[in-house]
Amino acid sequence: MTHRILIVDDSIIVRQQIGSTLKEAGHEIVEAGHGEQALLILRAQSRISLVICDVNMPVMNGIALLEALKREGLLATCKVLMLTSEAQPDMLERARKLGARGWIVKPVSPKNLVTAVRKLLQSP
């Protein structure tokens, strides 16, 4: 089944790499360069099933985006997977408590990314 996935990262390279991997896996991709752009897209009811989100971004970082999504009730309609160079357990736990459904430490192999996305999209 094709899902619409929003990739949020300030790096063009990362958005291209993740996007091309997931397009090859049959998904539709939308991109945002930071959390504020992502929030506007998600508020527009744009049928996003999954958000793949970096942590460290200008304007609005990934944790602030998660806080906003939780506050606005938007996590009921889409899942969030963090994709970041950060690997500290306390940050991971904070994201989990805010409603994130997963955490991947960059860089990720295409195979592991596609598997993680499939598992998340199939889970309740």
Partner: protein
């Protein structure tokens, strides 16, 4: 107890070196520390073909910056290798916007690896957003860096230069010396909740 700053610095040097080598390896680019001078590569900064990035960081009793410098062709080449090569037309990969972005992402991810290792020693860092620098501006950056960068080579050819400049308190240096520098989560790890 007096902290051995020299040993702490040497340990950080090893961490930084390993992080840079490991990062470039994910782009199927195998470099080794180069004992010789980076003069030739640094001269590239006088040309229009140099690309670099700098990212500053700070934490409790530690602050500093990481800067990287390379040539346009080297970074564009990295982008076309590895697990997720950019499947773009050649002329787009040769686009300066991509290569500049990759320089920033390189600085970001290498610092991320260093951060994770220092965090396991109890030393926390917060990084700013990296800034890309090209050509003559990169030359200006180099002049503010310490004199002895880490130089990496493919074969005998220097291809990548990195400066990791920092200052830390005695207590922080002792944490670095005593810590394992083994990150809680490794690059590529996936945790689903």
């Amino acid at each position: 107890m007096k902290t051995d700053h020299g040993r702490a610095k040497a340990k950080v040097h090893r961490i930084v070196t390993d992080c840079a080598v490991d990062f470039l390896a994910t782009y199927a680019t195998h470099v080794k520390p180069h004992a010789g001078s980076a003069t030739e590569l640094v001269k590239v900064a006088s040309s229009t073909q140099s690309v670099g990035a700098v990212v500053t960081f700070s934490g409790t009793n530690i602050r500093g910056s990481l800067a990287v410098l390379s040539a346009f062709d080297f970074l564009a080449g990295c982008l076309q290798r590895g697990d997720t090569p950019l499947r773009l037309p050649h002329e787009r990969v040769q686009d300066w916007s991509f290569v500049r972005d990759f320089a920033k992402e390189t600085a970001n991810q290498i610092l991320g690896r260093i951060k994770n290792r220092l965090a396991s020693c109890g030393v926390g860092l917060e990084a700013r957003t990296p800034t890309a620098l090209c050509g003559q501006v990169a030359k200006g950056m180099i002049m503010t860096r310490s004199r002895n960068p880490l130089v990496f080579a493919v074969g005998l050819q220097p291809v990548f230069v990195l400066w990791f400049d920092y200052s830390a308190s005695n207590e922080t240096n002792q944490l670095i010396l005593d810590g394992s520098a083994v990150p809680a989560l490794c690059e590529g790890d996936v945790a689903l909740f």
